[in-house]
Amino acid sequence: MPARLVSLLCAALLSPLNGAWGADFDVTTLMQQLAQVHVQRGTFVERKYIGILQHPIESSGELVYRAPDHLEKRTLLPKPESLVLEGEMLTMSRNGRQQTVSLYQYPDLGTLIDSIRSILAGDQKALEAAFEVRIEGSLEQWKLELTPKLEGAQKMIDHIEIRGAGRRVHSVEIVQPDHDRSIMTIENSATPP
């Protein structure tokens, strides 16, 4: 009896590790881990490399995610701006003006913004509806490569690379068909539970 109890306890303790650190690390595993995160805050630095510009454009600010569907990007430099995604409504505030649109109105841009959120929410279904998803590495150090399925998005995005460790996203790189790209690096200010 005690032997059996011990083995049960061991199994119970080890089971989450089995999935996470097991040999077969896949998208589902990562998504399950990410879905555990309910609130995430961080600072970001984004650099855009555009062909005709001689220098990359840099902007920085804060990112806030709250499960299930709130994503906020507050740019502080070079000009204050905020983008708030709540449900399907995207509100953009800039220069004292505020504009609210529905993601559905801008299918191309909408897919992109929505994909970031579905990664944070661990929504594999939504992600795979819009992208071919490939995963590399392990849970400690992973890389997702997303290739858009929709024609409209393909015109704007060649692919997206997202890197992270465990439940944290570290960087999002968007590569455009003309090789222009933007890289956003994220530093988490609060450790997720």
């Binding site: 001689q54 701006e81 399907e88 800039r94 559905y104 968007i174």
Partner: protein, 799 residues
């Protein structure tokens, strides 16, 4: 005595003429009966907006039921289908119309150097270019950077963005699954504009049928429900209601009066003869209205049912008195009938004629009304009453069979006579009632009247509330305040509008208004476009400045497409309104720039300072606009609510004057006919008392009085005078046994009148019900009061 055939021939010929006129008459049942004929300029604008403006063509559509996903899907499929339909110029549901968006983008992009408000001489200096580039780079860094990047090489100064910013909408409705929805998310909402003008009710009706059919085609489950509201729906509904009610009310009225006549006559031939004056009157009335006005309103026909009630009285008087006491004669001879006819012509006919003339005089004042429905009622009734009386006087005696017999109705007369003998007891209470009514009306005179034009609206309050709610959901509530710019041409109106813009911007800055929209925002005047073109330098100069401005940030060699586009823009033809057709900018322009034969009006909606308090500093706005000199164009401040209320109060004032005029004319007629102050007072006092008590009754019933009630009061006097005059003539002639039949026939005639008007009281069209309830109640009161106050010696009432 030989019977002359001439009257018969004249009558039949007249009927033929009426028939021909009626056959070629255009009948309308649209809202024009409710709109004025001779308003001021801003009122004309209000009326033309009401009739044909973009608002009058806009249908608000709500889809409810099933679930949010299905509603959104249906909204998209519905919109896609409607956009294929030529009956609609614009279908908005929040989901972009990709074809229209493509047209918009092409127009904006191709003409960005003519449309962008940022273009001036400074824009193409080194400093100006440097700043413009810097702004665009900032926006590249922003969240929308990815979307605007493709524009960079051809529009590095961001003119498309500048233009788009200027066009940005004030408020967007709520979205659910990508399409507009109500705030609580329970309904999908669409905004559909028909191609046909608002006044073309036939085309609006077809458009509404298309909406129903197209919805049916995309509906995937019966759980989904479609609801339509807005001016086209109201116009079509009103017309249907009026058409329906005119038929129903006329039928009920005719049925009631026919039954009454059957009860009285108990003879088919008498019944048919009794209806002849009514039918001739109706035919003459319609033909007269058609000849005078060109078209006949459905409302007029509705009012016309009242004619049945009054015109039938004449034959009742004739038959009751000519046919009476015949039952006592065993072998009636033709001589006896002729004698009685002669007798009736010499004794009763003058009274009937005078009563008819007072009615005609009363209705005559309506002919001058600026309210088309009333003017037509006036003409219809005058022609109808004259024709009915003439048929009674000259035709019926020819057609009466020699053996014409009326059933003995003396019993009723005797009973009524007995009742009448107790009338003294009623005098006190009636006087008290009248006094109480006077006091009550005096105390409440401030809130007896409904002073809003909406009081005449045939649209029910619940429908209006539903419409207002949907409008609020769309963030498109009715705009009340406008700046009005009138000019000789579209170009002149746009130039004057541009001159007005700094003033409006200042009003926004100081918080007097929250914002405004302007046609010049969608299409600058040609003058402005030309000045923008002249601000563009030579390509070589531009290239040199651009490279200096872009140094260190952008490789200016890659901006050559920009140089080419700008250079091409220098010589392109400026845009005119026709170039905007098919774009959303064109729709917005069309809603604000209204051109007609007299020139063009630009209507700039002014929005209140905040959505919550909806306040506006009217005084400051009025003052600021008055100070604008845009000559030769004219700038004015327009408050549509105040204009429409003023329109109504001018109606009301006019109706008051006309009613007073009609009343005075009746007094004058009676003075000439009766030649006795005492008799005039005896005739008029009971009628005035009836009017006062009737107004009191309406007020106590909680009715807000409208101008139709006022007109109804005039008609109480005009119609009720018939009864008062009969009591007067009986008194004067000291007539013997005739009085019994007079009393009976008066009662029947009164019943017929009350039926004619009373039926109208049940109409759901406020115009008809207001008139019906007033005259219906008033006619009974007029008879009772005339009887009670007839003369002082009750013993004179013969038994």
């Amino acid at each position: 005595m030989k019977r002359g055939r001439l009257p018969l021939v004249v009558w039949l010929l007249g009927l033929c003429v009426c028939g021909i006129v009626i056959a070629t008459t255009r009948f309308t049942a649209d809202l024009s009966a409710f709109l004025p004929r001779t308003p001021t300029i801003s009122q004309q604008l209000l009326v033309s907006q009401l009739r044909n403006g973009s608002v009058s063509r806009t249908v608000l559509v709500a889809i409810s039921g099933a679930n949010a996903v299905l509603r959104a899907q249906t909204s998209r499929a519905f919109a896609a289908r409607l956009r294929q339909n030529a009956a609609f110029v614009s279908v908005l549901n929040g989901d972009p119309d990709s074809a229209q968006r493509a047209r918009d983008q092409t127009l904006l992009f191709d003409h960005r150097y003519l449309l962008s408000p940022a273009i001036n001489a400074d824009r193409f200096t080194v400093l100006g270019l440097h700043q413009a580039l810097g702004d665009v780079l900032d926006r590249l860094a922003s969240g929308e950077g990815l979307a605007i990047k493709p524009l960079l090489t051809r529009d590095p100064t961001g003119e498309v963005l500048q233009t788009l910013d200027a066009l940005e909408q004030h408020s967007q409705p709520t979205f659910s699954h990508g399409v507009w929805a109500s705030h609580d998310g329970s309904e999908s909402i669409l905004l559909v504009q028909t191609r046909a003008a608002g006044s073309d009710t036939d085309a609006q009706e077809r458009a509404l049928k298309w909406l129903d059919a197209d919805f049916e085609a995309v509906r995937t489950t019966p759980l989904l429900q479609l609801e339509l509201t807005g001016p086209p729906v109201f116009a079509v509904q009103t017309r249907a209601t009026i058409r329906h009610q005119v038929v129903i009310l006329s039928l009920i009225s005719a049925l009631l009066v026919t039954s009454l006549l059957w009860l009285v006559y108990r003879s088919l031939s008498a019944l048919v003869l009794g209806l002849l004056p009514v039918m001739t009157g109706a035919a003459a009335g319609i033909a007269a209205v058609s000849l005078v006005f060109g078209t006949v309103h459905g409302v007029t026909l509705g009012f016309g049912t009242t004619l049945i009630g009054e015109a039938v009285d004449y034959s009742i008087y004739l038959f009751a008195q000519v046919g009476q006491s015949l039952s006592f004669s065993s072998a009636p001879s033709s001589k006896k009938l002729q004698d009685r006819l002669q007798n009736w012509l010499s004794t009763a006919w003058p009274t009937v004629r005078l009563g008819m003339l007072t009615s005609v005089v009363g209705f005559f004042s309506l002919v001058f009304s600026g309210f088309p429905g009333l003017a037509q009622l006036g003409v219809y009734s005058i022609a109808g009453l004259l024709a009915a009386a003439a048929v009674t006087r000259w035709i019926l005696p020819l057609l009466l069979p020699q053996s014409f017999v009326m059933p003995d109705r003396r019993l009723l007369g005797i009973y009524l006579g007995a009742l009448l003998r107790h009338r003294l007891a009623l005098r006190g209470p009636i006087i008290m009632l009248v006094l109480a009514a006077v006091v009550y009306l005096g105390l409440h005179h401030g809130h007896l009247w409904n002073t809003s034009l909406a009081a005449l609206s045939p649209i029910s309050k619940s429908d209006q509330a539903r419409d207002a709610k949907l409008r609020a959901e769309l963030g498109a509530p009715d705009v009340r305040y406008f700046a009005l710019v009138s000019a000789a041409s579209a170009e002149a109106a746009l130039e004057a509008t541009e001159a007005l813009t700094p003033v409006l911007d200042h009003l926004v800055a100081v918080g007097a208004i929250g914002g405004y929209d302007s046609p010049a925002r969608y299409l600058p005047s040609v003058a402005t476009q030309r000045s923008r073109q002249s601000a563009i330098p030579d390509p070589d100069v531009l290239r040199r400045r651009l490279c200096a401005a872009a140094a260190g940030e952008v490789s200016c060699k890659r901006l050559e497409p920009f140089i080419q586009d700008v250079t091409a823009a220098r010589t392109t033809r400026p845009l005119i309104p026709a170039d905007l057709e098919g774009t959303s900018m064109g729709l917005a322009l069309g809603a604000m720039l209204l051109c007609g034969k007299q020139g063009c009006n630009a209507l700039l909606p002014l929005h209140p300072a905040t959505d919550l308090t909806a306040r506006m500093d009217i005084h400051a706005v009025r003052l600021a606009l008055a100070g604008v000199d845009a000559s030769p164009a004219h700038v004015a401040f327009v408050d549509f609510k105040a204009e429409s209320d003023q329109l109504y109060s001018s109606y009301l004032r006019q109706a008051t004057l006309l009613s007073l005029g009609g009343f005075l004319a009746i007094i004058a007629l009676l003075a000439v006919a009766l030649r006795s102050l005492g008799r005039m007072v005896a005739v008029l006092l009971p009628l005035c008392a009836a009017v006062i008590v009737c107004a009191f009754g309406l007020a106590v019933l909680g009715r807000e009085l409208t101008l139709l009630h006022l007109v109804g009061m005039l008609l109480i006097v005009a119609v009720g005078s018939n009864y008062a005059l009969f009591f007067d003539s009986t008194h004067v002639r000291r007539a013997g046994p005739l009085a019994v039949t007079t009393l009976a026939s008066l009662t029947f005639a009164n019943l017929a009148t009350v039926m004619g008007f009373g039926v109208l009281a049940f109409s759901s069209v406020p115009l008809l019900s207001a008139l019906g309830e007033t005259v219906g109640m008033g006619a009974i009161l007029a008879l009772v009061f005339s009887a009670v106050f007839a003369h002082d010696r009750p013993d004179e009432i013969p038994v």
